[in-house]
Amino acid sequence: MAHSHHSTAHNSHSDLGEVDSPSTLITVYVIILALLAATVLISMSGSLGRYTLFAQLAISSIQATIVGCYFMHLRHSDRVVTLTALASVFWLFILFVLFMSDYMTRHMVVSG
């Protein structure tokens, strides 16, 4: 995939194939910190009102994806490893869909 091309561009030691340069890692680190600052500012201002929670979770998800791709080396990983990682998200999705479909529809049931 396009990832392999991407990794060689940042490689200072092409013989090892998978070593990110410190500058790449530090850039990633600064981006995560910037996102943290954004989520704190959004939360404290409360300017997004009812969309605050949505913004917070979106930012956390972006941070998690960046940590996964760069710190957990998913972007250099085998497809099987990536699929395993995505499977956790998928199962989490099933978990949330199933219990939410219960709890969010309970009020529709007329108790008798």
């Binding site: 917070q56 940590v67 957990m72 199962w91």
Partner: protein, 202 residues
């Protein structure tokens, strides 16, 4: 290792699921209780954990490149950052105990109680948030302590010269766990500490 991480994601997923339901049912009380959380300490802790993830990744890099002193330094830095996280957590818990920010019916008190009663909120629901706060941060803290133990073990392995570049995956496996615990914190931070940030009493 990734399979284990999947089980960990689902384990915490259950807690997040329970939290979601109650937050949906009692949004006012949850945001109220959250506004008594110490955002400053949580923010410092988040920065510490993110930094420790960076140093952990640099440790893998050192291991791959055969840079033993670099590996040593990065592992010790990661350990120091993780340990600082737990120390700050300790101060935070101490503050909570002192201020009566506790889920028990008898121990719940102080400003959070008087404010809740003044605003005519159901203190049971406020205390329910505190149950989630202590269980989720507590279990997360246990994970940090286990991670710190693994990092110490890596330090010892490095000292014994048992991590040559071809064995870098030993460091990688511990780092995967460490990053996962970091990622879980990145979700706990907004859900527990920032939920009521706009109401701030402090």
């Amino acid at each position: 290792m990734w399979m284990f991480l999947v089980t960990e994601v689902l384990f915490f997923g259950g807690l997040f699921a329970a939290y979601s339901i109650y937050r949906m049912w009692y949004p006012v009380e949850f945001e109220f209780a959250s506004s008594f959380m110490n955002i400053k300490l949580a923010l410092i802790n988040t920065v510490l954990l993110i930094t420790s993830s960076l140093t952990m990744t640099l440790a893998i890099r050192s291991a791959k490149l055969g840079d033993r002193s670099g590996l040593y330094r990065n592992l010790l830095l990661t350990f120091a950052l993780g340990a600082s996280f737990m120390v700050i957590k300790g101060f935070e818990y101490a503050h909570d105990f002192h201020e009566g920010i506790l889920p028990g019916a008898g121990s719940f008190g102080g400003e959070i109680r008087s404010t809740a009663e003044a605003q005519d909120l159901d203190t049971g629901k406020v205390r329910l948030f505190l149950v989630f706060y202590f269980i989720m941060t507590g279990i997360h803290g246990v994970h940090i302590i286990i991670g710190l133990g693994c990092i110490l073990w890596l330090v010892q392995q490095t000292y014994a010269n048992r991590i040559p570049p071809e064995n870098y995956s030993t460091v990688e496996v511990v780092s995967l766990y460490w990053h996962l615990v970091d990622v879980i914190w990145l979700f706990l931070m907004p859900l527990l500490y920032l939920a009521g940030a706009h109401l701030s009493h402090h």
